[in-house]
Structures are given as structure tokens and as C-alpha cells.
């Protein structure tokens, strides 16, 4: 790649321990140990994505922040990524910095909204993104470090420091890392990135800022309609407020586990059939205690196949004041 010099200030440390303690003391970590972001490691990451250090990934105008590839690479090294994960981190950062992903609001909010990263396409198997059992939890290096990298960028580069510009009252454990893949091989459905305009053999990352992580647990229903009604009840219990800035484009994400998928499969229901059932009900009276689900288009219902066998569950990820943005993963050819 072009030999543009790294711009970040370089600090010398006696040893690894000295570096760790200094980074913690400077407020440059999420509280967990980090990998030392040496110039050599950072350059290897930039090479993996074919990006110059000063390549602009996005901006946060209200914070007077410009996020470069170098910023992202330093934080991805610190998060424990491998160089071949870095193109996924770049796509996630670009998605999060899209105007409608609303970085300022979603990372400053009292509600402690979390940034969910969903990976689609061949890159999942190439780098080992977990899509099945346990995919939202610990134990998978790619999932853990990619989600962590985005959060470190948000903290270190986008200035979302808890108690300062990050005003979250409680924040969330999902803010350490929240990344998983769609189980495309285990599902008959069209992958989310294909529904959003990419080819199946392309890789893409969708970032969704989520205010509430809830689930529809339904061990009883045996029909698509019954399962959809359980999802609808979860959506109405929480509600989704409309917002002028986002207009009709508000999104919510349903992460459907295999125990629910099988009933949709048996009935021949596609993702679009689920939307066709749910969307008209958003305009109906939500009933006592129910809240309005302010999604303006049926395409705003994002559906992802993921998770493992056993639990009859669909995770319902309700948005903060942002829409889900999908960006392509571009590796250095």
C-alpha cells in the first residue's frame, strides 16, 4: 500500500506491562487488557484492507472527529483482531459512521444503546465468525475482537467516554462486544445482505444501534402466525418511537433461532412472508399496555438466521435513534 506515514503519536514503553498500565491510566481501553498497537502491527492491518493510513472512514461532525483507517487499525490491534479481520472492522466503522447510523446520538444516549455488528457472506467462514450456538456470547475470537474493535473506535476516536460524552445511566455488557454472523448455510432463507442489495458471494457488515435487546421465547406455537404473534408482542411491549430524522426508514432486527426457523420452513415461509404478516399489524391498535411499533416500511423489519438448537427463541433487537446500515467488506486483493 502507499507508504504514507502513520500519523499517530508514538510512545516508548519499558515493556508490555508498562504499556498496559499506561493505556489503562490514559483511559484508552475498555477496562480489559489490550494488544500493544505497535507500528508494525498497525501497518499489517492497513495492508490487509489495502488502505492508506489517512483514508477517511467517516466523521462525527458534532464532535469534530474524522475517523481514519489508521485510527481503526490501532484500535483493532488493541482489540485482539487478526489482520484478516480488519476489512470487517473497516466496514463496521464505515457503517456506524453513516449519517443515519447517528453515532453522536447512539453513543451519547442515556439509554446506553449498543452497536450490533452482523456479518454476512464468505468472510464469515474465512475468518471464523460464529453464526450458530453461542454466537452472541464469548468464546469466538473473530466475533469478540471485531465487536470490541468497533467499541474501542467509538470510545477512543469518537470520544464516547463514559460520564463525559457517553451519558449512559447504566450502559450495557453488550458494549464490550456484540458481533455475530448470519447462519446462511443453516437456513433456507435469503441472507440479509442479499436482501439489502449485495450478491451472495460478496461479504457485508450490517451495524444496528440497539436500545433494547429483548427476546420472544415461544415453545408452544407450531405455526408461523403464532411465532410472529410472539415476536409482535415483544415489539409492542417495548415499542419503537417514530422520529422525523429517520423518517420511514426505521429498522428493527429479528434474529431467528433454528427452533423457530423450522416451523417457518415447514410452512414454506420466507423472510418476506414474515414481513407481510407483521407489517400491517404495526398500524393496528397495540391493545392495553401495548406500544406503537413505528416502522415505516416492511423492509425495515430485518431478519437474520442465527443461533443454536434447543431454545425456541427469536432475539428482538429494537433500535435506538438510528437505522441499520450495511457496508461491503473490501479486502486487499
Amino acid at each position: 500500500m502507499a507508504a504514507t506515514a502513520l500519523a499517530a503519536e508514538a510512545h516508548a514503553f519499558r515493556d508490555e506491562q508498562d504499556l498496559q498500565e499506561t493505556y489503562h491510566a490514559n483511559g484508552w481501553t475498555d477496562g480489559l487488557p489490550i494488544v500493544a498497537p505497535t507500528p508494525e502491527r498497525v501497518e499489517a492491518f492497513l495492508d490487509a484492507a489495502g488502505l492508506a493510513p489517512d483514508a477517511l472512514l467517516g466523521e462525527v461532525p458534532t464532535r469534530e472527529v474524522r475517523v481514519t483507517a489508521e485510527h481503526a487499525a490501532i484500535n483493532a490491534v488493541m482489540a485482539g483482531c487478526r489482520p484478516d479481520y480488519f476489512p470487517v472492522v473497516v466496514a463496521a466503522v464505515r457503517a456506524h459512521l453513516h449519517e443515519k447510523a447517528n453515532c453522536h446520538s447512539t453513543t451519547g444516549t442515556l439509554s446506553g444503546a449498543v452497536q450490533t455488528v452482523v456479518v454476512n457472506g464468505p468472510i464469515r467462514t474465512e475468518i471464523g465468525i460464529e453464526c450458530g450456538a453461542g454466537c452472541m456470547g464469548p468464546g469466538f475470537r473473530a466475533n469478540a475482537s471485531i465487536g470490541r474493535a468497533l467499541r474501542l473506535v467509538i470510545r477512543n476516536v469518537c470520544r464516547a467516554i463514559p460520564g463525559v460524552l457517553d451519558r449512559a445511566s447504566f450502559s450495557s455488557p453488550h458494549r464490550f462486544s456484540f458481533c455475530f454472523g448470519e447462519n446462511e448455510e443453516g437456513s433456507s432463507w435469503t441472507p440479509m445482505h442479499v436482501e439489502r442489495g449485495f450478491r451472495a458471494d460478496e461479504s457485508a457488515v450490517t451495524v444496528h444501534s440497539v436500545m433494547t435487546v429483548d427476546s420472544a421465547v415461544d415453545f408452544v406455537s407450531r405455526t408461523p402466525e403464532g411465532l410472529c404473534d410472539s415476536m409482535l408482542a415483544t415489539l409492542r411491549r417495548n415499542g419503537i418511537a417514530g422520529d422525523e430524522f429517520l423518517g420511514e426508514d426505521t429498522t428493527a432486527m429479528l434474529v431467528v433461532g433454528p427452533e423457530h426457523q423450522r416451523f417457518f420452513d415447514r410452512a414454506g415461509w420466507s423472510k418476506d412472508d414474515i414481513r407481510d404478516y407483521l407489517f400491517p399489524k404495526f398500524g393496528e391498535d397495540p391493545g392495553p399496555g401495548g406500544r406503537t411499533v413505528g416502522i415505516g416500511k416492511k423492509e425495515g423489519i430485518l431478519i437474520v438466521a442465527a443461533g443454536g438448537d434447543g431454545m425456541a427463541q427469536t432475539w428482538v433487537l429494537l433500535p435506538h435513534l438510528a437505522i441499520a446500515i450495511t457496508e461491503p467488506v473490501v479486502a486487499n486483493a
Binding site: 499517530a8 505497535t38 488493541m78 422525523e244 429517520l246
Partner: protein, 99 residues
């Protein structure tokens, strides 16, 4: 082993460097004679709350005037036209949020 120091790069975007002359003004001792900007973000009861603040302030202090701004979206800062009103017509502002 080597004596060469370990080099680590600063992961931040650096300190905020202002290129303009903005600075935080000092707080006035009195609101007398000021025009107060009241900016409600639209969440919860923020507008009602700031209306009540306005009523309370002007009940006995008829020398205080106010410009009320209700953001068009809770998601983003005020529109440029609202910023213009606040900066040209007011001398103090209170931003309120609700939940």
C-alpha cells in the same frame, strides 16, 4: 532479549483543537435583561418542563424574555434555522431533555 523500547501508538483522535473562537461564557449573576433560549429535545415531557421553567422565571421577572425552540427530531441537534435564532436572538440558553 533486547533493550529496544516497545513502541505503542496513541489510539485516540487527539485532543479537541478548536479552530474558532468559541469559549464557554461566564455565568451571569442575574437573568435580568437577558433573552433566554429554551431548547427542548422533544423527549418525554421536555417541552412541558421548559414551558414551566419559562413561566416560573417570567412570573416575577418581567425583564426576562425567552425564545423557545422545540427540536424537530430527538435524534439530532437543532436545525440550522433554530441555531441561528438561538445565536442571534438570545444571550443565554437552557437545553432540556426528557425521558
Amino acid at each position: 532479549m533486547t533493550d529496544r523500547p516497545l513502541i505503542g501508538l496513541d489510539p485516540t483522535s487527539g485532543p479537541l483543537v478548536r479552530t474558532d473562537e468559541r469559549a464557554l461564557p461566564s455565568r451571569p449573576k442575574s437573568l435580568d435583561g437577558h433573552v433566554l433560549g429554551l431548547v427542548a429535545n422533544g423527549l418525554g415531557e421536555s417541552k412541558l418542563f421548559l414551558d414551566a421553567v419559562y413561566d416560573e422565571l417570567t412570573r416575577e421577572e418581567d425583564t426576562i424574555a425567552a425564545v423557545r425552540v422545540l427540536k424537530s427530531s430527538v435524534s439530532v441537534p437543532p436545525e440550522p434555522a433554530d441555531w441561528a435564532r438561538l445565536t442571534s436572538e438570545t444571550s443565554l440558553a437552557i437545553a432540556g431533555m426528557g425521558g
